[in-house]
Symmetry: C2
Subunit: 187 residues, 2 copies
């Protein structure tokens, strides 16, 4: 199945910085390295999808990409295996104090979450509300129900607090989502 406009270029959103100076992506990567080193799970961030237009092959040195564009991602950014199960998630930072706009998640990514859910994946969204300095795990099923109900164009913060699960932090696991995954999905 080919998504319409799947090769459409888009302007990559600038990363927002959390109060702690580390991005959510950095914190998840550090946590993932901890999980891997301690044989708890294997989860990697996928590379940023780009369309390569021009490559130079200079003699005796590495190939250099001289023209490329960011592509709209067709899947989420993270997936892997935990306790023998397939896990899949997207991570987003949000600066608003009132809500998380659906426009921040690409329709292809929502589609992907639905796809993997149908196949039995453990799927969720990690949402960093930077104004509150809090990270929430939101089950993909809950997110999709609310999204598809069509009543709103964003997740209200009250909903996030009610439905989301607060993710703990520690120095070695600055976004310790696995601890909460085990509980939330009853593994």
């Amino acid at each position: 199945m080919k998504y319409p406009n799947s090769n459409k270029v888009y302007v990559k959103p600038k990363e927002t910085t959390s109060n702690r100076g580390m991005s959510l992506e950095d914190d998840i990567n550090v946590s993932n390295r901890y999980y891997l080193a301690h044989e708890m799970a294997v989860v990697h961030k996928k590379p940023t999808p780009i369309t390569i237009v021009k490559v130079d092959y200079p003699k005796r040195s590495a190939a250099k990409i001289t023209e490329a564009y960011f592509k709209v991602p067709s899947t989420t950014d993270y997936n892997g295996i935990y306790l023998g199960k397939y896990i899949d998630f997207e991570a987003k930072e949000c600066e608003s104090r009132t809500s998380f706009p659906f426009s921040s998640i690409h329709p292809h990514q929502i589609r992907h979450l639905k796809d993997v859910l149908r196949h039995g994946a453990i799927a969720f969204i990690i949402l960093r509300m930077t104004s509150y300095d809090k990270d929430f795990l939101i089950r993909a099923g809950d997110f999709i129900d609310f999204h598809d109900s069509g009543t709103r164009k964003s997740l209200p913060y009250e909903w996030i607090e009610e439905k989301g699960f607060l993710i703990n932090r520690s120095y070695q696991r600055p976004c310790d989502y696995l601890a909460i995954v085990k509980e939330v999905f009853d593994l």
Copy 2:
């Protein structure tokens, strides 16, 4: 865990073309789209990992990457979910009639296959032997046993024929690996 030299640039190997004019990657992508559309599995190729050095942000148009380099991949190229299970594989084309050199698979990728195997993944390698116009599925466990035994620097073709499982082709599924996965891994 940080792998040594994980940011080392390298020259991306040119794609070899099979006798049929379509690359193995193309054939797997077509098969994956079929699997997705028919709700059989969700498997995607990961984007090519690159290190972005310079990006131009022209006004009113898409961001343009003007300097980037290919990175050594730290995982395999494909993963996803099939029958509720995590599956993970690497795909390689080989022109030799006699053997498949281990130098064609990066040590990080072998390490990754070991990582996911330990966590219960269905993991394998798809090997297209272009001179014979045949695709084989090789269980990651078999591959690793032979690789780690240290007796050879390549997989001899006789070993591939003995241990590998021939993958069928059809117009809609030009590399129908799922059919064989089900059998081989007894799902």
